[in-house]
Each structure stands twice: as structure tokens, then as C-alpha cells.
Amino acid sequence: MRKDRKRNFRRAGQAILSSLVAVIIVTVLVFVTHGRDIPVLNPHGLIADQERNLILLTVGLGLIVVIPVFIMLFSIAWRYRASNTKAKYQPDFASHKGIEALWWGLPCVIILILAIITGIYTHALDPFKPIDSSVKPVQIQVVSLQWKWLFIYPDQKIATLNYVNIPKDTPINFTITSDAPMNSFWVPALAGQVYAMSGMSTQLHLMADSVGSYTGSSANISGDGFADMHFKVNSMNESDFATWAKKTSIASQSLTSSSYDGLAKPSHDNSESAYVLGDGSLYNEVIMKYMSPDAEGSMNMSGSGM
């Protein structure tokens, strides 16, 4: 009797303590998260928006399994605790075709549904797929360098470093390469990421739905200054974009093959600048650099070899 009471007392104490810890954890997390920008869940672009919806849908489907697991785990563990001698004890109860069929079957059904969703969305949100729109897309070529991002606007004949301006509600067609170790081009508020690899050209299509400034970065380690490889994506009204492009195409320094070589040298400089594009085929030259038989991609590199 007394032992029972003591045990109940201890149990109550443990319950209070663990709820207290849980409350503290939740409060602290809410406190440090509250009011912060969460771009993946609060996107500002067509693609990122659909990706967010897909994420929430998948989590919802997953919870159909996860919640019963938690309920079963704790209720069964509690009910069949050793001290509860009133509960049934069947040490040989070890298989039941119906029950097992249920939990082979239930996950199968959910995964089947999720597989169909995956097939549809993977094709719909393929980063290489152009966005359907009546508005003429803007082409932007992206080159990841050590350790900065170069954006080339072949049609506007301009280029920018470490920032990129885009018109809102206009499809943006990024083609992406690297003149550096592999990077990953990611602007979470607008779209998921794609790798930037030398000698190759990957693509990313996105469209911003509001005016604003969003952070992008490299998601893949690429050497010493990798943490500095973040940039701003400024989404603006179409007229503002046109004005900016025109102004930049007149009043900036020129970017040619030779000035590019200087730019491509490793540096930690994360400052923003703009250029007039002096060499229209620069992007292709950067890719081709890695394609010739003797190339190490090392035209601008020292210290190669043993």
C-alpha cells in the first residue's frame, strides 16, 4: 500500500518534471523562431509556393502513419508495463496474419498515393521545365566562382556580381555553370536548388510574385570562402527592371574575357558590382574551358600538380 503510494508520488513528480521540460523547450524554440523569416514556408515565388504545398501535403500523409505509431507506442507500453498485473500476458502471441497484413498494407497504400503525387510533381516542378506564361521570359546565365556569383544577362548585355535583379511576375530562365568547385544555386523564397558544375550547364526556372529582396546562397561546400557565397535577388516591377537594365548597360565597367579572368581568381570579396557585357559568348567560353582535351579548367589557377 505504502509502496504503491510512494510509487504514484514519484510518477506524478516525473510527469510534472517532464511536462515542465517540454514546455520550456517549446517556449524557447518559439521565442528564438518568432518573427523570423522562414522562406521555405513563406515563399514569394510560383515554384517555391508549389514546393511548399507539396511539403505540407507529404507531411500530412506521413502523419497518417506517425500519429498512430505514437499513440500505439505509449498506450501499449503503459498498458503492458510489468507492474500492471491485471493486463493480459500471452508470451507466445507472436503473429497475427490480419494485423500484419494491415501494416504491410497501410504503408503500401500511403506510399502508392505518395508515389503518384511524386511522379506528377517531379515532372511539374522539374527545374529544367520552362514556366508557362504569356510574359516573355528573362534569360540569366549564372557562373559560380571562387567565392562569388556572376550573373550574365545576355539579352540586356549586362552582368552583375553577387546580386541579381529580376522583374516580378516574369519567368526567369537561369542557366547555371561553375568556374569553381561544385556549388549549388539556391534561393529558398523563390525555388529549390540546382547544382552549378563546371563544364556543364544546368537550368532553373522560377518566377517571383511580389516585389522584395530575397537571400540566395550556395548550398554546397566549395572551398575556403564558401560561407561568403550569398547574394540578393531583388524582385522589382517590370518598368523598374527595364530602367535599371538600361542604366547599367551604359554606365558600368566592361566585362570582357580578360577582365573575367581577374574576377575568376579566388577571393573572399562579397561586394556587389555591375558590368556592361563586353563579350556576349562569355558563358559558353566558361563552359568550353573545361571541354578541351588538355584543360584542367586551370587557365586561371596556379598551384596545380605535384
Partner: protein
């Protein structure tokens, strides 16, 4: 002239390679100081001969298993110290300037590599060595000498990966060293070579060990133990070793090609001249994804044993469990591309690998349900191993949900290489592999020592771990949603990430406190061992290892049992079956120093090739080969223990 000579003798090693910044040097010299203390202690107490005879040259898998676990625990502390440094750097948003970006990158590369190769793998092989032979009713492993070679190769790799604390630098290319960053062009120093050769040497040890235990399970089971009568842990080990045999050759070949690029200027994975880094990324994950299951399947096995034993009940759905293990084993080779959906393979390819990935959730889900239902109509005793089991189900299910989420390619585009991903795989590996190891440690500890671990301290450690774990990793999930990528040595304070990083840092501190309690638990348990002495079967066990002495004789079984049931020992107890003491001669492998000598030459080879010391490379290689030839031409590697001697020992043990 002089520089030429020094290059021939020392390769690219120069005195300046010994100069390090204070944190690294501190860690390095602390390790050396600890080693010196151990050496002084051994000399003072005249224990060298004991160390050599009972441990270093031993071919007893139980001894080798303990050595694996000791190495793994030391490396766990190293990896934890690394984690603490990383968390400190990020909690101060890098502005405190504790670590340079170069040092920071070395630390996270070392943290990942060490935790996977030298902690998780060490734990798994330690447990294999201790449990597989005893559970299948065997006196030994299939190839006792190979087992010793495997361990010493593992130890050589471990020494190599810690050497950069003293001489040279470690890789800054992450735990998988993607090219072209890991190629000469971008990483000309010794760092990547340290990474390659420590993994190469330890990896060959792992492959040999995988073969060894696979053959042990296939060939050395007690008479009557059909495959479908094997304890489920043995099934999980069979699945894991199968994966090792198929996956580790890929690692060996991939590292081999990368080292050819670096040593001989070849172009397998360079970005120019016909090389293709994407090939490396495919190959490394063709090994890397199965590797995840190599680690986690044995943990599944441990939990299966633990939940059945402490529920006093048969494992629910044994056949389902075996089918699920087999399915996971097969499927784990069909999903590697989900590690790089973002490479631009195209929607069809991504869809295929996405669906294959989520299909793995089906057998895994079945296992979770079966574990829970094993408790149903049982008598559940909530000892520390059971607490780890409960913690595992909670963390693993949540981590699994995150995993299913990332298996959907367009969702993965938003999570790839973010801290969400980092949180996910830590949830799986800490919550799965490490919790499994802790459960197994507490569960099997009395079998190999004769006394139990202190329960109270174990429970406290568990709760600290759980709270610390939640605090350390929930913020990382949230940071992923905020767009925080992994491996940043600093970030812009205006992003508002710092609060979460601080919470994560506090979480790691709480985990450290948990680890501290676990160490205390071990010390207290050993000091007060006479209070916790237990018999051969402290938990009312189900499988054969509980039928033999604690700690077991070096030959495990004085009489090899004949198996007629699954959960043979449980059935024996039920039938009041007593093994008849009919003793026979037992052949045991003699001790040999050849294993440690092979390891030593492999270490010399590794260090020499890292530093381009050609003559020493030859010494190392020739040394390995000659040692093996000498050992393999020796026909008298076993000694007989006569039946009379066995009977005498058995009598003595029973009197004591």
C-alpha cells in the same frame, strides 16, 4: 642538393607541418599526453606482457570486440569535441573568430568521417564480435586471424585520421570529399590524402570483417539452427554483412581512383580533361547509401532482441521482420541518387529514385509496428535498454518522416544540403545507431562482465540525452526551413539564425552532460561491481548467449547446444532442459602478433603515401606482404584443450 635529399627521405614532410594553431595543437598534444600516461602506467604496473598476451595478440573475438568498442568510445569523444567546436563557432555566428574557415572545414570533415567510420562502424564490429558467435552457439568466428587483421587495419586508419592534429592538416572537403574540390587543383595539400588513406585502410578492414562474419553466420551455427531459427540480431547482421560485401568494394575502387587522380595526375574525377566529378558522386553514394543500412540494420537487430526480452514475449512477426530486413537490404542499393536529386538528372530519373526511396519506408514501417506489437500482451520492464528503445521509436519515426519528405524530389530541392538534411541524418544515426548501441551496451554488458550497469545513472543519462538531442536538432530542422545551409563558418546576423544556433549549442552541452554521466555510470558500475553481480541470465533472456557463463569462457560453449527452436534458450528453460556435461576436445586459435604487425605496416604505408615518401611506401607494402606470407605458411596456429582440461575448468567455475 640538400632539399633534394630531404625530399627523398621525408617526401613533402617539412618541420613547418608540425606547427598548428592552439586549438588543434591542444587537442593533438592532449591525445599524446594521454597516450604517454597510458604507457607510463603500463610500465609502472608491469602490464606490458599482459597487454600483449591477453589483448593485442588475442584472436578471441570477445577480446577483439572489446577493443573495437574502446576505440569507438574514444573516437566518439573526439567526434563530440569536434561537434562542440562547430556548435560554438555557429552559436557565435563566427564573429568571435574562434575558428578560421579552414579550421572549421577541417573539423566538420573530421567530425563526419570519424563518427561514421570510427565510431559507428567500430561499435557495429565490436557488437558483431561479441554477439554473433555467442548467439549462434559457436566457439569462434570463421577466420580468427583475419578478424585480428581487420581490427588492426581499423586501428591503423584511426591513428591516421587523428594524425593531422599533430602533423599536417585534415581534408576540408566534407566527409565525402566531392571532387573537383577534393582534386589536386583545389586541394593540393595532404588533407584529402589523410582522408583517403585512413578510409582506404580502415575500409579494407571493414570489408574483410564483413566477409568474416557473413561466413561465420552461414557456416558456424550450432547444429539444428536453421536460418529461420536464428536470433533476429543475427539476421540483421547477415543483412548488414551482405551489404558490406557488396558496398565496400565500391568504396575501395572509388577512393582508389581519386588517389590515382591525386598521385599520378589522372583524370577520373577532375572537372576538365575528360574527368567527371558526377561519376564520383554516383559511386560514393552507391557505397554511401548502403553504408547507412550497414550501420542501422544491426541496431534494428539489437532493438528487436531488447524489446522481446524485456516484454517477456516472442518477437512479433518474426517472418515479417526477416522479409523486411531482406527487402531493405535489396532496396538500399536502388536509391543512391536521392542524395543528389539537385544534380539535374531529369524528372524521370528523379521520380524513379524518389519512389524507390519511399518504398523503403514500407518494410521499415512494418518493423516499427512489429516492435510496438511485441510489447502487446507482454510484461514490459522499463530498464535502460527499454528506455533507449522508446527513445529510438520516437526519434526514428520523426526522422523517418523527414526522410520520406526528402524522398519527394521537388521537396528535396528545398531541403538538400540545408540544416534540415543535417538534422534528418543525425536523427537517424544518433537516434538509430547510437541509441541502439547504448541499448545493446546496457543489455549485453552483464553477459561479458558478470555484473550489470548502474540503472539509476543510466536512466539519468538517457533523459539528458533525449532532452539534449531534441534541443540540438529541432533548431536545425527549423533553420533548414529558414534557408540555412550546412557547413557555414559564419553567417549574416541579420538572418536571425543565431538564437536557434545557441539553442542547438545548449543541446550539445546537455548531450555532453549525458555522456559524462555514462562515463560515470561505467566507473561506478565497475567500482561497485560486487553489488551488481548477476548470474548468467539476468534479464530472463531468450537466446543462447544467456545460457553460457558470464563472462563466457574463451571457447564460449563447453558443450555445443543442439537447437530445435527459435528463442532456443527460452524454450530450454520452459522444458527445464539441462545440457549434459559431455565434454570434448576443443581447438582454439593460438595468439599471434601478425595481425598487429600487419596493421603497423599498413599504418607506415598510409603515412608514407600521404607524405609522398616513396621508400617508406615500399617498406610498408613489403612489410604487410611478408608478414602475411610468414603467418599463412605457419600450419600450427591452433592448440588443443583436452576434454579433461575442459571438465576441470568447468568444475572450477561451478565451485567459484
Amino acid at each position: 642538393m640538400f632539399s633534394n635529399l630531404s625530399q627523398i627521405i621525408f617526401g613533402r614532410l617539412t618541420p613547418s607541418d608540425f606547427v598548428h594553431d592552439p586549438i588543434m595543437a591542444g587537442a593533438g598534444y592532449a591525445m599524446i599526453a594521454a597516450l604517454v600516461l597510458v604507457i607510463i602506467g603500463l610500465t609502472y604496473f608491469k602490464k606490458w606482457k599482459w597487454l600483449w598476451r591477453t589483448w593485442i595478440t588475442s584472436l578471441d573475438p570477445k577480446k577483439i570486440g572489446v577493443m573495437y568498442i574502446i576505440v569507438a568510445v574514444i573516437m566518439l569523444l573526439r567526434g563530440l569535441a569536434d561537434a562542440l567546436l562547430l556548435r560554438t563557432q555557429q552559436a557565435t555566428d563566427g564573429s568571435a573568430g574562434i575558428l578560421t574557415s579552414d579550421h572549421f572545414q577541417q573539423i566538420f570533415s573530421a567530425h563526419g568521417t570519424i563518427m561514421i567510420f570510427f565510431v559507428a562502424m567500430g561499435i557495429i564490429f565490436g557488437i558483431f564480435n561479441l554477439i554473433i558467435p555467442t548467439q549462434i552457439g559457436s566457439r569462434d568466428v570463421a577466420f580468427p586471424f583475419l578478424n585480428s587483421v581487420s581490427f588492426w587495419l581499423f586501428a591503423a586508419g584511426m591513428i591516421l585520421i587523428n594524425a593531422p592534429l599533430i602533423v599536417g592538416e585534415f581534408s576540408t572537403a566534407g566527409w565525402l570529399a566531392y571532387p573537383p574540390l577534393s582534386e589536386l587543383q583545389y586541394s593540393p595539400g595532404v588533407g584529402v590524402d589523410y582522408w583517403i588513406w585512413s578510409l582506404q585502410i580502415a575500409g579494407i578492414g571493414s570489408l574483410l570483417s564483413g566477409i568474416n562474419f557473413f561466413v561465420t553466420i552461414i557456416k558456424m551455427r550450432a547444429p539444428g539452427m536453421k536460418l529461420m531459427m536464428m536470433p533476429i540480431f543475427v539476421w540483421s547482421a547477415l543483412a548488414s554483412t551482405t551489404l558490406i560485401m557488396f558496398a565496400f568494394p565500391i568504396l575501395t575502387a572509388t577512393l582508389g581512383m581519386l588517389s590515382l587522380d591525386r598521385l599520378l595526375g589522372m583524370h577520373f574525377f577532375t572537372s576538365g580533361a575528360g574527368g567527371n566529378p558526377m561519376l564520383y558522386i554516383n559511386l560514393i553514394w552507391a557505397w554511401g547509401h548502403p553504408e547507412v543500412y550497414i550501420l542501422v540494420l544491426p541496431a534494428f537487430g539489437i532493438f528487436s532482441e531488447v524489446v522481446a526480452t524485456f516484454s517477456g514475449k516472442k518477437l512479433f512477426g518474426y517472418k515479417s521482420m526477416v522479409v523486411a530486413l531482406a527487402a531493405i537490404t535489396f532496396l538500399s542499393f536502388t536509391v543512391w541518387l536521392h542524395h543528389f536529386f539537385t544534380m539535374g538528372a531529369g524528372a524521370d530519373v528523379n521520380t524513379f529514385f524518389g519512389i524507390m526511396t519511399m518504398v523503403i519506408a514500407i518494410p521499415t514501417g512494418v518493423k516499427v509496428f512489429n516492435w510496438i506489437f511485441t510489447m502487446y500482451r507482454g510484461r514490459v520492464r522499463f530498464t535502460t535498454p527499454m528506455l533507449w528503445f522508446m527513445g529510438f521509436i520516437v526519434t526514428f519515426t520523426l526522422g523517418g518522416l523527414a526522410g520520406v519528405l526528402m524522398s519527394v524530389p521537388p521537396a528535396d530541392f528545398q531541403f538538400h544540403n540545408s540544416l534540415f538534411l543535417v538534422a534528418h541524418f543525425h536523427t537517424m544515426i544518433v537516434g538509430g545507431v547510437l541509441f541502439g548501441a547504448f541499448a545493446g551496451f546496457a543489455y549485453w554488458f552483464p553477459k561479458f562482465t558478470g555484473f550489470t550497469l548502474n540503472e539509476r545513472l543510466g536512466r539519468y543519462a538517457f533523459w539528458l540525452w533525449i532532452v539534449g538531442f531534441l534541443l540540438a536538432f529541432i533548431p536545425l530542422y527549423i533553420l533548414g526551413f529558414m534557408g540555412a545551409t550546412r557547413r557555414l563558418d559564419h553567417y549574416d546576423p541579420s538572418l536571425g539564425w543565431q538564437g536557434l544556433f545557441i539553442v542547438a549549442g545548449v543541446g550539445v552541452l546537455i548531450i555532453c552532460a549525458g555522456v559524462g554521466l555514462q562515463i560515470l555510470q561505467l566507473i561506478v558500475s565497475i567500482v561497485k561491481r560486487n553489488e551488481n553481480r548477476v548470474g548468467n541470465d539476468p534479464w530472463n533472456g531468450r537466446t543462447l548467449e544467456w545460457s553460457i557463463a558470464s563472462p563466457p569462457q574463451e571457447y564460449n560453449y563447453t558443450v555445443i547446444p543442439t537447437v530445435t527452436h527459435r528463442d532456443e534458450f527460452w524454450e530450454m528453460k520452459r522444458r527445464h532442459h539441462v545440457v549434459k556435461p559431455e565434454y570434448t576436445d576443443i581447438w582454439l586459435p593460438k595468439n599471434t602478433g601478425a595481425g598487429v604487425i600487419v596493421g603497423l605496416f599498413a599504418l607506415i604505408f598510409g603515412a608514407a603515401i600521404i607524405w609522398h615518401i616513396i621508400w617508406l611506401v615500399i617498406v610498408g607494402l613489403v612489410g604487410v606482404i611478408i608478414t602475411l606470407i610468414i603467418r599463412l605458411t605457419n600450419d600450427e596456429t591452433e592448440e588443443k584443450l583436452t576434454a579433461a582440461e575442459v571438465a576441470k575448468r568447468e568444475l572450477k567455475r561451478q565451485i567459484a
